[in-house]
Symmetry: C2
Subunit: 332 residues, 2 copies
């Protein structure tokens, strides 16, 4: 097994070697733009590390499928940004804002298709399994995005529904990334499934942590303004859990906790800092912040348990755990 | 070899058995809507017939990839209709008009991904070649669509550029469909390439015929209003050939043919029938109508030549020729 730093540097090398066609320019410029935005390349890292648990022959047959996961992820961002009217991503204009809707639609489509071309470099012996895992996953990501859009017009989303949605929208691609390397290496099904489950649970932990950070994080380390979700009344783990607990409290002792939450949500966005402060205090009064941290820890523990039950060896588990800890910072 | 009618009925059966998930409803309703619009299912027909030239064991391993070609084609229609602001397709509202842009983007994405899922049913021995052919083709289709959009703001498109564009936007998918069956059947490369070239040339002939029909066809058999391309000054084979010939004439004998064409194109769309009549007469005066028919025939002949040079046997060639004649009606 190589060291993680070596694996990561192989990913970065391969990414810098990626060559998109020059023409048609308006089709490929947005792809270059997205791929040059950087990012941690978490999905390729998971995939290559998972492959390297079993095999040392690192070449195009695994680097190309590993990067396909990043290319696909970037495609979803291009299209999601149109659907969400998002103007800025990683500090620069989104593709549909820099160019236009049509360019963003068609460049996105092309990017998605290149991801499949890159998956096609997997070795013939395991290509069928790799392709099936990838298509299943990518379809689920779209289903998750649709669920998320459906949630926008609802205020009765349950925590179970929310977990299902982030499971599809976020976790399955991390699960696929964790399993893909092992699948391409021809590892036993039970181990591939264990790695999939690890990535899935890790993804849920990561998303709940992200929800927590948006309200309770440190602006400097989080990298964006704190409180955005609160201002937009966004359906997050915190808000949904809070709504469920408020309703439970009202049922138990006839309190008016739900009404109080509704009042807070009805505060105009313009009241800015005041609203953020009030909602955070309300969350804390119901211990939602602590419960979120507990949930993150619980999903993280489940992720590690999946690895342990899969039949992987100690050193293999430790390698994957190192990635997990870089992604989810536990507080206990 | 089965009869074409038998093959076509197997395609129709399989299409009617296609089951899309019920949920999320807003994601899958548009897919059902598109697939129920009907159409000739030309691409699956080409694919299944090409497979059956070599093998008789018709099952999911070929029917599913064959239908994938239709599913992919329908995905491109959903996204193209957004980009082209097209309100009506096959007599009913387009997806983005019936629902909205976001639904059309995400349902289209999902449809594209399902096409790959269906290609994934190809037998393991030939999956790598089938997938590579499919990804190469689908990327080219997007490149063709981008070229077509680039042409909208130009009035100096050459006939060579036009043929390249329709080659990508239309022909490569017919080429891929013709070759895919043989590829999945494990036929020799030379034969697969011959079938690809056959489908490519046939596609060019088909598109030039379509351009001709839009101006010179019979409204009843063509199924839509004659003259739409003329009213929109659309860059078609007829217009581009006409422009090139007018310029050539002006160079040779100092005529003002190009200026006359420009005047005609500048006629307001509102003058409707008058403009259509004037442009058609102008085309006829330069014999563009006859030249278009000749070009259709020439590409058709090249298509058949590709089959003959590929090493296919007489009865195999005849089977493919029957599809070709149903697609391109020659006039001589």
């Amino acid at each position: 097994m190589l060291k993680l730093e070596q694996l990561y540097s192989l990913i970065d090398q391969e990414a810098s070697r990626l060559k998109w066609p020059e023409e048609p320019k308006l089709l490929y410029d947005p792809l270059r733009y997205m791929m040059d935005m950087g990012g941690k390349r978490l999905r390729p890292r998971l995939c290559l590390t998972s492959y390297n648990l079993f095999k040392d022959d690192i070449g195009e047959h695994i680097l190309s499928p590993a990067l396909a996961l990043e290319v696909f992820h970037n495609f979803t961002l291009i299209h999601d940004d149109i659907m969400d009217n998002a103007d800025i991503r990683r500090g620069v204009p989104t593709v549909y804002r820099k160019w236009n809707d049509n360019i963003a639609i068609l460049s996105g489509d092309t990017m998605c298709l290149w991801a499949f071309k890159m998956i096609g470099k997997a070795p013939k012996q395991t290509l069928d399994k790799a392709l099936n895992l990838f298509t299943k996953t990518t379809i689920e990501v779209c289903e998750g995005q649709q669920m998320d859009m459906d949630f926008e017009t609802r205020n009765d989303v349950s925590l179970d529904e929310y977990i299902k949605m982030i499971g599809l929208k976020t976790s399955v691609l991390l699960a696929c990334s964790s399993a893909m390397g092992a699948v391409i290496a021809g590892a036993p099904d039970k181990i591939c499934e264990g790695l999939y489950s690890f990535g899935y649970k890790l993804g849920i932990a990561f998303q709940i942590q992200d929800d927590w950070l948006d309200s309770f994080g440190d602006e400097k380390t989080f990298g964006k303004k704190i409180g955005g979700d609160i201002l937009n009344n966004k359906q997050t783990w915190l808000l949904i859990k809070c709504r469920e607990m408020a309703q439970e409290k009202d049922r138990q002792n006839g309190s008016q906790t739900s009404s109080r939450l509704k009042e807070l949500l009805a505060m105009a966005e313009t009241s800015g800092e005041e609203k953020i402060k009030a909602v955070k205090e309300f969350y804390c009064s119901l211990e939602i912040d602590r419960l979120a941290e507990e949930a993150v820890n619980a999903y993280y523990t489940e992720a590690m348990q999946s690895l342990k039950n899969s039949g992987l060896k100690e050193d293999q588990i430790r390698q994957m755990e190192t990635i997990a800890t870089s992604l989810v910072k536990r507080n206990r």
